[in-house]
Structure formats: C-alpha cells, structure tokens
Subunit: 336 residues, 2 copies
Amino acid sequence: MNQVSYRATNSPLGVSGTFAIGIDIGGTNTVFGIVDHRGDIQYRGAISTKKHLLIDDYINELYDAVLPAIDQVGGLDYIRGIGIGAPNGNYYTGTIEYAPNLNWKGIVPLTDLMTAKFQLPSALTNDANAAAVGEMMYGAAKGMKDFIMITLGTGVGSGIVANGSLILGHDGFAGELGHTIIIPEGRFHPGTKAKGSLESYCSATGVRLTALEMLENGKEDSLMRNYAKEEIDSRVVYDCAMQGDKIANEVYEFTGQVLGKALANFVMFSSPEAIILFGGLCKAGDLLLNPTKKAMEENLLPIFRNKIKLLFSELKEADAAVLGASALVWEIKTVG
Amino acid sequence: MNQVSYRATNSPLGVSGTFAIGIDIGGTNTVFGIVDHRGDIQYRGAISTKKHLLIDDYINELYDAVLPAIDQVGGLDYIRGIGIGAPNGNYYTGTIEYAPNLNWKGIVPLTDLMTAKFQLPSALTNDANAAAVGEMMYGAAKGMKDFIMITLGTGVGSGIVANGSLILGHDGFAGELGHTIIIPEGRFHPGTKAKGSLESYCSATGVRLTALEMLENGKEDSLMRNYAKEEIDSRVVYDCAMQGDKIANEVYEFTGQVLGKALANFVMFSSPEAIILFGGLCKAGDLLLNPTKKAMEENLLPIFRNKIKLLFSELKEADAAVLGASALVWEIKTVG
C-alpha cells in the first residue's frame, strides 16, 4: 500500500470515517457508491468512462458526480476514503498500467490523482480482486480465509485469497488465471497472442466462438442457425440452450469441461475452501456448473475430491465490485 | 497451528530455547539436525525410516538417536522445539495423511506422538514446504515475500510463499503443483491415475520415461543404447548428456519445455519474485534451466516477462529440508 496523507476527519457528531466510497471503473461506465461498514450502499451513481480521453477530465466529472452523494451523508468528514477497482489496477503502486480497454494509455497514477482531487486517501486494485474482497466481506465467501474468485464475463479474471489476504504477488499482478494455458496449442487469443488460455474458452467471447465452431463443424439442426453469425453471442447460446437446443447445450458442456480442468489445477495450487464464480456467464446456472464440477473433480488428486465448494457469487453483479472496492478503504493505512 | 503444551524451559544459564531440532522424514531415511537461530547445523544424524513398520518403534529409535545430540548442546532446556518435514505432512493437524511412500498407513498423529515422547512442542509440514521455509530463511529466497519452490526429485513437490507466508490452503494441502495437468491426456501417472501431470514428466522417473520413449521412437545412435533399459535412469541421462549425446540432450530440452510451461501458469497465479528449483534434477544445471526459462517466458503474459528470477536452491540438498523443518520451530505458538 502506498501511504497517503489526508485531512483529519472529526465530524461535528464525533463520528469519523463512517462511510467509504467504492468506485468500479469499467471500460464503458464507471459506477460508484457510498457504502457503510456493513456493506449497505447508501447512494449510487454512474458516469461514462469511455467519453473521457483525458484522465483529468474524467476525474473532474467523477468528482462532480460523487460530491452530492458525499454531502448527503454529511460531508467529507464522514468519508474514510476511496476504494477503486479498475482493469490492470495495481494495489502497490496505485496506478493503472497499460489497460487495453481504457482510453488512458501507459501508466496512470490514479490514487495520487484521486487523493489530490478529493482530499481523501485512496486505494486501488484490479476489478477481479475488488470483487473477491466484496465477496469475502459481504457475499458467498464471508468468513473464508482461502478461496478463489473467478469472473466469467467479457474476459476471465480472478482474485485469489489465501491466509485471509489477497494474493497480489511481488509486483501486484498476481491472479491472472484467465491467461493460464489449459489446452496447449489450443484456441488463439488475439489480445494476448497466447494459444489455449482459459479466457479464450470460458469468457463470453469464448462461448460465442465455441458455438460458431460447433455450428460450422456439424450439420445438426440448431435454433442457433436461425441467427446470423454476427448475432450469435453468449446470450443467444443461453436462450437456445434453455429451449433445449442440443448444440447450445453442448457449448456449455464443453465450456464447463475446460473450466473444470482449469479449476482443478488452481485447487492443487492453493487448496481453497471454495471457488466462487461470478459474472455474466453464471446466468447459465447448472448448465455451466454441472459439467464444470464434474471435470474439476475428475482432475483432482483424491485428497482434494468432494471438498471444494463450487459456488456462485451472492452479490448482485452491479454491486460486487463497488462493495469490494469500498472494502479496500477499511484497510487503508494512513499517515498523519 | 495446533497448539501444544510443553515443559517450561529455563536453562541454568538463563538462556532458553536456543536451538531447534529439524527432522526430514524421507521414504528411505530420516535425517535430523540441531540447528541454531542463524541456520547453522550443530549436530547431524540419521536413522532408517523404512525398517520400522510401527510408528512407535520408529519414534523410539529416533528419540534414542536424537537424545545424545540434545545432550551435546546442554540438554532439553536449550531446545525450543521440533520441526518436521514429511511427505503428506499437514501443518494444521500435525498428522501425516495417507503417505504412499511410508510404511505407516492412514492418518498418523505425528506431532502428538513426538511431543509426548520428547516433551517438546512439535510442528509438521510437508517436505517441500519445509524446503521452501529453509530457502526463505537461509537460502536463495532470503528476504523474499513471494516465491515458489519446486522440488524436482523422485517426485515433483512445491512450496508456495505469498505475502511472506506459506500457502497452506483451507485444509493444509495446498501446493501440490506436481499434480497439476500440463499436457491434457498426456503421460499416465500410475500413482495418481492422472494423465499429463507435471510430475509424470519432470521428476526423475519422468526423465527416465522420456529417455526410454525417445530411444524407442527413434533410430539415432545414442550413448544411452549402451545401457540396458532397466539401467537407464536420470543419472545415466545426465552423464550421457554431459558427454554430448544428442538424444540425452533432447530429453532435457523436452523436460525443460514442459516445466517452463507449467511455471508460466504458476507465475500467472501468484506472480512470485522468483521460482527456486531444488532436488536431484537440478544437477543438470543449464541443460535444464535454459529450455525451462525459454518456455516459461514464451508462455507468460507480457507484464510478467523478464521479471521472474529462475534460480537453483542455495542450500545443500541434505540440509535444506532439515533447516526448513527446524525453522518451523521458531514460529510455533505455544500455550503455556
């Protein structure tokens, strides 16, 4: 944690630092909330991330959007700090580094900029880590000291907790499980140039590609053939699977097999109490969970079998990252 | 840590708990040492593990062997406790559980038995974890908070340190990286029934099998053809490779490729400062290190490239596990 100085907070009521600001920076939108210690989001808001080419403009708009919410809870004196989840956010340095989906290139000193603007201590981590912390404090991992959070969305992210703490690695970049290679020489990932990474199969994009491959390689009827290629996405696959479409169901079967194999390897690394799945693909429920669990168990050493809970997140997707980001605030070490 | 009660130690000189006993239980032999806080082994000894079918007989002989060494440093009052590394040793429960290479079947309550016999607090972990702690306190990982230790011996073991602590997992069984699947549907492992695990390729047995496969599948001349099949082991492969034998060199090239791919996945999990290789296979030096490093770098995301140190252990193989086991003692929490 980079140490930050901040203004003394002594509220007129003798209460200090009662709320935390949680901010989730996504490629398209930024969502924020004012959160109390129990994880109740008192105020919510959002601004566009994408429209700001300059980070300073973005922070100015964010400040203008958050300030009324701060006033609602009694002013800055009642705010303990700001926690932020962002793609490629680095906890140690407080910087966003080379995030492919954001406008701001290179290394952005985000916590420094935020602290200067808001006069509040700030902490940053990547979005999957933030979600893991949210889950640990308020969701399915409450009370757990060892678990792995896997986010299955546009990409595949992860947050790993061991001994009750996030594994950040020596440089703050630990937990890139989406980029581990599960099928050597497998599907090409245009973003990373790797072949056979978890993300290339188990993201929304991966599900879409698997569906297209299965449709192309087979001749069987499928509801998905009623759609143009460009229209087929993970939502279409889901809708067709729910209507009993055989190929759409096979897409989930295959996706679960790849995911389950990957999870087995992760279990043999950190032996977590639970693996928590989060993100858009979880909508598929048992369609995804059953083959995943089967493949995971088949690939585990006997000592790990039938012990690892495979759970879905208990937090609303919109809330998890904001809650997790806000939770960082309670751990900020401050000077002064 | 299971808490243990132990006799009060007040030496006549007012010095207490100056030494730790480190014990490394291998399938064949048990090695022990009396170690001071700086990691200097004052006395060394060994007994046979294999000859004792009953754990009680084993502990009795161990006691008789260790007692003279204890007396040499001034008696029990100068001993802080006993640290033990053993296959399938569980730190949380102090038990050895279903160790395939030991005579004692089922669950052995080792620390309870040791504490009852020696009247000293005892701590247990698996042999690879013990080696990792030894490396962190006295070897190549001194001062590091995030590293992975890979032991390349008869089997492949691992000890993972993150945030300065061993990752033990919720049940004490974390760090079974030898059993992660690197080549799906690859080589069969008769012990675990898994296909394509790291251990099936990168252990001494794996190197032997790779050599036999390469000899069988090719017709090229090789010094290894001067040996009977049964004679070919990792030592023969090494000797032939050092004499410039092409196939023997290809064995290391292939072994390094598999190991490097595996290491890349591990890096994306915990982003360690270093990976430390340990055990018999390390004798091969650059023959193994160069292809390993190349394959690891090729399979890493750009943010991890050229950052991870790939090192050999700095501890004598015979000493590392004893030192690591003894180091557990300094962290034993006692009730008093």
